[in-house]
Symmetry: C2
């Protein structure tokens, strides 16, 4: 039957409002602190985003201009039923996955990138600055800047910058400037770069560089791709679409799973469902899939900075420490010291479970391979963590016989991450006849 | 207004029948010739496909099992209105592009791959063999084989095999065996390989290898991704969807453009519209965009083999000669000596215009960059030719003031082709600060 495998929405079914969970939280969200840094916020941030950051309105209109950008980016995105995966696992569970991998740049990050670029343009800025870890956010903002007609400067964690040449070229193609971080372009970066020009960098260092760059240029504004409340809210379009799709499918999830670094993907997918739990008495198990390289939800719930250079206010969040070094992983989008204050509070109050997978990543890439061979779509390394957690849950259902409905988000595609797949799964060694590998043939 | 930028279809709007243009052709299609080779066909080909190859039925039912596979692959795919590109060009033309780039493997090739894999499985085969040039067809068949539970062996033109490591690993991930061609695995290949183990290969050599491999194994069957009538017919799902989308948009194309190598993409997109011209009196200008590296539509219209080793029957087609060597281009899917007999006949009768772009590919990659910066989606190198032709046509409209409706197909995405983009556009040189490029950081 048509619709058995893919639940689609048309552009006129795009959500018209974002969901802001703040007024529905069981406890007030602890505010950010730090007098000096808070005073800087109006200079550092896009004004509309700053307003949204502290808004207590439950529903916030998506401007027509942003809806237009969402449609151009291919939204709404389909929800797929993973029947082939279910069959292979022999699980009584029903598994559904959201297709954020249709994103023009490869991940869910475009959702907030488009909103932020739109507002920045409206406010008269000419350039966006930002940081990126896995590269997904940098590409998304490069794309969004190009769509609305802004320049864009990206500070990219050096450890990742070096091996993701294709993604770097992709950002260049959109017209962005891309620097390896720490870079000699900023004071924060130069201090570290001068000591070690090979410094692998970290997301929190790169954030400091992006902030400092924008601070020194009145035509530029900094844009953050995760953690903050307004980012989670912009991303709620994912979960809101998914809710409409479940309604069409005549189903409702018992388990909602996604990978979590700073929280934008997990938050965007899960918060609308969390709203159902908090206001409509629904019962859902939420699972945040993380890497043991940076399992921030297993850290301490306390005030900490969002960046290495302490330019941001302190946020009450689960954190592993804002100057901690983390080992590189292919799912680099999950390698960040802190978690969104909203999600941290909900975790603190027991609404969210968490799992952290080993940092050699064999387990999650094996899960991704099973997904590729059954469902056919190629997930981003970060999304492999969602898949691993969904398969674990489906296997638990097999043991207990529970017919749970499992919803998970494939936050991005892996077309530009085959080097990572190869390093973990040794795909090249599966090639039967060895060949010289030479560029240009 | 919703739908201004994206015209979507839901799974229940998927076409239920393929369009076979053969009965509507203005002249009978010249049959294939070669007694020995024709006698081999029933042993070489999937039976259902062989039947479809010679069918004179106008509409052929798409089996439910294939419709299911199409839906799992994300069909139907959206049609986008390129308003930002139109605005940049300042053209009075309306430009629409079909989003085949949403394909799980990256191109339109999945459409016939899924159909062929489905029929092969039904007929009891256990393994598919094939060739690939750009790598798109090999990936598509690897995917399709994995979806229906078949093994798959791919002979890949060595010149491309060597630089597209990610795509090779992608095929490995689906479980395929992949050999650089000419390979020592077959007689045809070994003869060339022994003389020169670095032989760059060609599509027609790789076809010979795929055919020979299947011939030697009763459980295996060969699958071809282009040229043949049944392939063009399977691909008609693209144009049929697009027709429904134009109906929804209240518009109809004056110009239909797509890139053309063997003809599967051009044929799949254009033949349903050609049907309107042949049977409903519609007037449409058709443009096939090619590379000067292998402009087969500028060759001779005559009988020729589809492969280097002369294992196939001879087909009446435009050809540059089945043993000709062509210079490598990034749009490698366009590098083939012959063009589909159906399209060749229509070209011969004056229904199709053709343009061939310079083989340094600067012109088409520049067009792709303009597309990326305005529309945001990253096209495959082959699709860059479609874009260049669409932009050329839109610029002609600017000169004449004509408000033509231009439809073009983005047959695939370029996420795995950034090396090609870089080589032509020198993207790496746009990086402001040079960095050592080291794998693994």
């Amino acid at each position: 039957m048509p619709g058995d495998y893919q639940i689609s929405l048309s552009p006129d079914e795009l959500p018209r409002k974002w969901y802001n969970i703040i007024p529905d939280l069981p406890e007030p969200l602890p505010p950010p602190i730090g007098e000096k840094q808070l005073a800087q916020l109006p200079k550092m941030m896009i004004k509309t985003c700053l307003g949204q950051e502290f808004s207590t309105e439950r529903w916030i209109d998506i401007p027509d201009g942003v809806l237009e950008l969402f449609e151009r980016a291919g939204r709404p995105r389909p929800l797929f039923r993973a029947k082939a995966l279910e069959k292979l696992l022999g699980t009584p569970a029903k598994m559904y996955y959201k297709g954020e991998f249709y994103s023009p740049t490869g991940s869910h990050k475009v959702n907030t990138a488009l909103a932020q670029a739109y507002y920045a343009k409206q406010e008269g800025f000419e350039r966006l600055t930002t940081e990126t870890g896995a590269g997904q956010w940098g590409t998304a903002l490069s794309y969004a800047a190009s769509m609305v007609g802004l320049k864009c400067t990206v500070y990219w964690v050096r450890a990742v910058y070096r091996w993701k040449e294709s993604r770097r070229n992709f950002m260049n193609l959109y017209g962005s400037e891309v620097f390896a971080s720490p870079s000699p372009k900023t004071k924060v970066g130069k201090a570290l770069f001068d000591k070690n020009p090979d410094h692998p960098g970290s997301l929190s260092i790169a954030i400091s560089e992006g902030l400092e760059d924008a601070e020194g240029d009145p035509k530029a504004v900094y844009s953050l791709g995760s953690v903050l409340n307004h980012v989670i809210m912009h991303q709620s379009v994912i979960g809101l679409e998914t809710q409409k799709q479940f309604e069409k499918a005549g189903d409702y999830p018992d388990v909602v799973i996604s990978c979590l670094g700073g929280g934008s993907n997990f938050g965007g997918f899960a918060m609308p469902f969390m709203g159902d739990v908090l206001t409509k008495g629904k019962k859902i198990k939420f699972i945040a899939a993380q890497s043991q390289a940076a399992p921030n939800l297993q850290g301490e719930y306390k005030y900490d900075y969002a960046d290495h250079g302490e330019l941001t206010p302190q946020l009450k969040m689960y954190t592993l420490g804002h100057q901690t070094d983390f080992p590189p992983v292919k799912g680099d989008g999950l390698r960040y010291h802190g978690c969104s204050p909203i999600i941290s509070l909900l975790r603190h109050l027991g609404y969210i479970d968490t799992v952290a997978y080993p940092k050699d990543e064999k387990y999650v890439f094996d899960a991704a391979e099973v997904f590729v061979r059954t469902e056919g779509f190629l997930p981003a390394p970060e999304s492999a963590y969602s898949i691993a957690a969904a398969i674990d849950e489906a296997n638990r259902c097999k043991q207990t016989g529970e017919k749970k409905v499992i919803a998970f988000n494939i936050s991005g595609h892996g077309f530009m991450d085959m080097v990572g797949y190869d390093e973990v799964l040794h795909l090249t060694e599966r090639t039967p006849i060895k060949e010289k590998v030479v560029a240009g043939g």
